[in-house]
Amino acid sequence: MRDAILASLREAFAAPAEASIAHGTFVVALAPESVVATATRLRGEFGFDLLQDVTAVDWPRRALRFDVVWHFYSTTQRVRVRMKTAVGEAAPEVETLTGLYGSAGFMERECHDMYGIRFRGNRDLRPILLYEGFVGHPLRKDYAKEHEQPLVPYRDQQ
């Protein structure tokens, strides 16, 4: 059954996107415009009822610097799908999936914290793991590990 669903996924998403199977996971790389359409199909047609994860990968030397990565899981088919899209530094924006999956809310907030990816349509992108007023996006490769945030004064300086 697993092979059947993988084959049908390959058939469905072969055309404008780039599809492959890596370590048992179906991987589809597509343009940012087709993110919501693809997720809607995955959820509606193929029964991917769990959005497991939203994150990004930073490749500073690439023209389109960020890969935004989603992981879906189907509890009936027992298959995972990884969806990827590349966005540039000037406008690191993709559509939100909060309309399809409630769980996208917090995960998109985290991704926004860490990489500065803006999820269009998600009105609640307040910091979640970081705090109000934090400057920068710590998981970007150009954010030095030693970098300090001088927003909270040390006690002896008060």
């Binding site: 009822d49 959005l51 990884r82 409630g102 705090y131 109000e132 710590p138 004064p153």
Partner: protein, 404 residues
């Protein structure tokens, strides 16, 4: 001299906008275990709306991983879910091994499965003990925590540490079982039945406990999936979804076990599902002890396993091999992988990206607690203010993995 510090959070609502009493609970509150801030709009005692904030334990785990070798970050992995650190170790090792194309030895596979289930019991004991104590059941807390402490000491005899073990290795384990470890395991399992039997007697039909937990914090299967709940919370709604059955890893395909489910998805069901899961874990442990094969615990692969120490002192190849593994770390082929293990709280996923060097390009953790915090408001809204405590207890949020 006082200084005006900015608030670290911006609440989604305040008293003016809500026409209600707004109270702030946490992040450090004596009645919750875990640093979590809940801002609640109340109508009398009833919770109308909540705004949940986590992140107070954020330590930059993912950033820190990017400057260590694949091996050296093992102690950090331990500190994600520190109630069941071994499961984190094994999930991480499994992910790296898949990237490297390593198949672990049979003894290692069985030992990892056994220790995962043993850790699951520790974790569930912690969760149940703490949430019962928060309802005032001090005796139940002491019974369960005493049991857990015996297990911690037992694990310390194997790994050298009580809580954060650093016991997994890429391609194997740190060391084999010491003499008498399995005999002591038998004693502890007997003790387990004695004390959990007392918990069943104290709690299962306890009027106070039922009144506080039955039909409180209830969620349906569809809502639970929508909000990304996995693990005991999802199973308490009646959905038999368990990665150990659905996508078997380690030795789970060879074991007989049931997936306990609840009916209502309320606090009582979450308590009961955890109690029953511990029984199933013991059933698995007994099967694993019977099947445990002899043999090496680490693969014989010079890309990740250290050469024999005697050889390191005697021959140049082994010395260089040792040196390269320490200084450069295991060379992991470029690629990316997502591996999910069924951790006690739900799906613990590792998404690793390698650029082919000895240091990870990216380590991302899909932690069940963090995702659960995103849906926690569904369990809190519409119930009483006092229900926040048992509901939050039954979710078992672990700050280490939630905030990373």
């Amino acid at each position: 001299m006082s200084i005006e510090l900015p608030s670290p959070v911006r609440a989604a609502f305040d008293a003016e906008s809500e026409d209600a009493v707004v109270v702030n609970i946490g992040p450090s509150h004596p009645a919750t275990h875990g640093t979590l801030q809940v801002i609640a709009a109340l109508d009398g005692e009833k919770v109308q709306r909540v705004d949940v904030h986590c992140g107070y334990l954020h330590r930059g785990f993912e950033k820190e991983c990017e400057s260590h070798t694949w091996h050296n970050l093992m102690p950090y992995v331990d500190r994600l879910n520190y109630c069941s650190a071994l499961i984190n170790d094994f999930a991480y090792c499994d992910a790296v091994e898949r990237l490297m194309g390593i198949e672990i030895t049979p003894r290692c596979r069985y030992l990892r499965t056994l220790l995962s289930e043993y850790s699951r019991i520790c974790d569930h004991l912690t969760c149940i003990a703490a949430s019962l104590m928060e309802l005032g059941a001090m005796t139940a807390f002491l019974y369960l925590v005493m049991l857990r402490d015996h297990m911690y000491e037992h694990l310390a005899a194997l790994t050298g540490a009580r809580v954060t073990y650093t016991y997994g290795r890429i391609g194997g384990l740190a060391r084999d079982l010491p003499d008498g470890w399995l005999a002591r395991l038998d004693e502890i399992l007997v003790e387990f039945y004695e004390f959990t039997g007392r918990i069943h007697g104290l709690m299962d039909r306890n009027r106070i406990f039922i009144d506080r937990t039955r039909d409180v914090g209830a969620i349906s299967s569809a809502d639970a999936l929508h909000w990304g709940f996995t693990g005991p919370i999802l199973r308490s709604t009646g959905a038999a979804i368990d990665l150990r059955k659905d996508m078997p890893y380690l030795a789970y395909a060879e074991l007989e076990f049931d997936v306990p489910v609840g009916i209502n998805g309320d606090n009582y069901d979450r308590y009961y599902v955890r109690m029953r899961e511990m029984d199933e874990s013991i059933r698995m442990i007994r099967q694993l002890v019977g099947k445990l094969p002899q043999g090496p615990i680490c693969v014989d692969d010079r890309r990740c396993t250290f050469p024999d120490k005697a050889l390191v002192y005697r021959e140049i190849q082994s010395l260089i091999n040792h040196f390269k593994l320490v200084m450069d770390g295991p060379q992991v082929p470029a690629g990316e992988v997502y591996v999910g293990h069924e951790a006690p709280n739900g799906e613990l996923g590792f998404y690793l990206v390698s650029d082919g060097s000895g240091t990870p390009y990216k380590v991302h953790v899909r932690s069940p607690s963090f995702v659960h915090m995103g849906g926690l408001h569904k369990l809190l809204e519409g119930y009483q203010l006092a229900d926040i405590i048992p509901t939050f207890g039954s979710v078992n949020m672990i700050g280490g993995e939630c905030d990373r």
